[in-house]
Symmetry: C2
Subunit: 339 residues, 2 copies
């Protein structure tokens, strides 16, 4: 008798490894980089490449219609895909949008969703060229974004070198803290009819509901003449993404907990829920900031307020974090888990 | 108070029109053709274009796991997208696959799905370069396929000219007839424990479960030096697709019911269910054959068994069908409706 394996046993990334095996090797000369980075890279001639990525948001898994407005949902569906394109150091060009609509969604709601899509696309210089609409029990938005770059400026996850600094844009954990606040306020409203007051949480709530892809940072790097060795976006939490980057590069890393950039509202949320702010910063997903590795001399060319150093790449394959009390702990790869 | 419009009131295509308005005009010089054809067309330099299309299959809407095997589902998800690329006269190159998996799906089942995807991709010369996996209440497969072509050989829906013949590849209505048989056998099994006997329906059942994109026909046209004026694939049924093609071309059409190519098993299925075979041929979806318009002189260059003439393009905007009894009836645009 055959044994069947629940997906939870191998996890999302274990499943992807097994599916890559099922697909076999790709025979095309034009494929620069297939499954395994933020986006695939294919040649289109004249030294140019396209990067292709797809990401789906499913109601009940990725968003809650009770606090996610249709306009913000549309913008977020674009932003999370553009973030993967940005993580290859490429510029977004084209998008397709596939919608699954339950029968309790009205035309006006879908139009508002598309207003959000149009707004985000304009912001990132991207054009929706096609799509698909189907009935579905659960609301879902599946977006594919195609970007373009010169082949020699594409940045993979796999180029990190021992001695490189590990840096991040923005602050960490705020999207996860924002989600926790939203869920708590929803709960309080349901049980005590308490009116949500989100004013003191406006920053982290916005980080959860309206994330931005860091296309602005690519521009900054180009102007400064800086090209990081390795780059990945923070969709699943810093700890998980550091593992991805190090695994792809064949290196290790040492982070410092004291260096993690955490916003004041994220600290306050951690206090309210009796959590540690580092937990949000390391394991909270959906920040859509960038994690990159580059030599110190390169980092010095960048404006100091445009990134934070969170650690360094090591030749030793261990991935560890230095704690404020001086202890060094192994950093687990845990991130957001769908299964 | 605002009135809200149910999607069923405007329909899938009405909704697409409204969403196109919400997106506004696309400002890019590189966009040859956006929303409104089988696939979008964007320039990539050197006279080459890419065509981009996306299509999602949702459990309970597009497939039934009780008779659709995982391997066939994977192959079909690729075929229906390749069919849209073929309908632009382009060759498929790259695919991304986004999966939504319920928790009752095992790793081995997903691997079998991917075997089907790999098999179909090999057949069409296409490579899976990326994807996304997420939890979902309902099983879903969302595929995007990118194809390539010379810009001057792309065929849109909009080029049909009065006097052109309207032709189709293959036969019509067999996928819909196959679905009807499968549902009836499932029902008989559920109510009377009757073992399904599908041997006499093998052709139409295969047409439903394992459709093929007609990439082979493009090759044939190229070899014969034939370039149709207008081209669309038959995903929603001939009647609906004739309307799309005529509407885009600003022309009308006259079909002849007696000319519709219908397979013997489709006739037999119509008899069993007391339906008319023309109903399957005109309104049954999912044949994934091609509908094309071209001058008679061009059609004569093609092997006679590679297509069937079903009517002609007219200057009058009416879309009508000649019935065997000599009557001429308006042809309704009804096709498969999700909403």
């Amino acid at each position: 008798m055959t044994d069947f394996t629940p997906i939870s046993e191998v996890g999302e990334f274990g499943l992807i490894d097994r599916l890559r095996d099922a697909l076999g090797t790709a025979p095309s000369d034009d494929l620069v980089h297939g499954i395994g980075d933020d986006a695939a890279v294919v040649r289109i001639g004249n030294g140019r490449v396209q990067v292709v990525t797809t990401d789906t948001l499913v109601e009940g898994v990725h968003f809650d219609r009770s606090f996610m407005s249709m306009g913000l949902l549309g913008a977020k569906a674009i932003a999370v895909n553009v973030s993967d394109v940005v993580a290859m150091n490429a510029a977004p060009r084209w998008a397709t949008v596939a919608l699954g609509l339950p029968n309790n969604v009205f035309v006006e709601a879908v139009e508002t969703l598309y207003d959000g899509i149009a707004h985000a696309c304009k912001q990132y210089g991207c054009t929706v060229v096609g799509g698909d609409i189907t009935a579905s029990e659960r609301f879902l938005v599946s977006v594919t974004v195609i970007g373009e770059a010169d082949e020699d400026t594409v940045i993979l996850r796999s180029g990190a070198q021992p001695g490189d600094l590990l840096c991040v844009t923005g602050d960490l954990g705020s999207a996860a803290a924002g989600l926790k606040v939203l869920l708590a306020e929803k709960d309080a409203f349901a049980t005590d009819d308490a009116q949500p007051d989100l004013r003191q949480w406006s920053y982290i709530v916005e980080r959860q509901l309206a994330p931005h892809a860091r296309l602005d940072r690519l521009q900054q790097w180009r102007e400064a003449g800086v090209q990081p060795h390795a780059l990945i976006d923070l969709s699943d939490g810093l700890a998980s993404e550091v593992h991805h980057l190090c695994h792809a590069s064949g290196v290790g890393a040492r982070l410092e907990a004291a260096l993690l950039p955490v916003h004041a509202q994220t600290f306050k949320a951690a206090e309210r829920f009796d959590d540690r702010p580092e937990t949000y910063a390391l394991y909270g997903g959906e920040d859509y900031e960038l994690l990159f590795a580059l030599p110190e001399a390169q980092a010095k060319k960048l404006p100091g307020d445009s990134f934070a150093v969170v650690g360094a790449v090591t030749a030793s394959p261990d991935i560890v974090i230095g704690m404020p009390d001086g202890a060094t702990l192994p950093l687990e790869a845990t991130g957001f888990r769908h299964f």
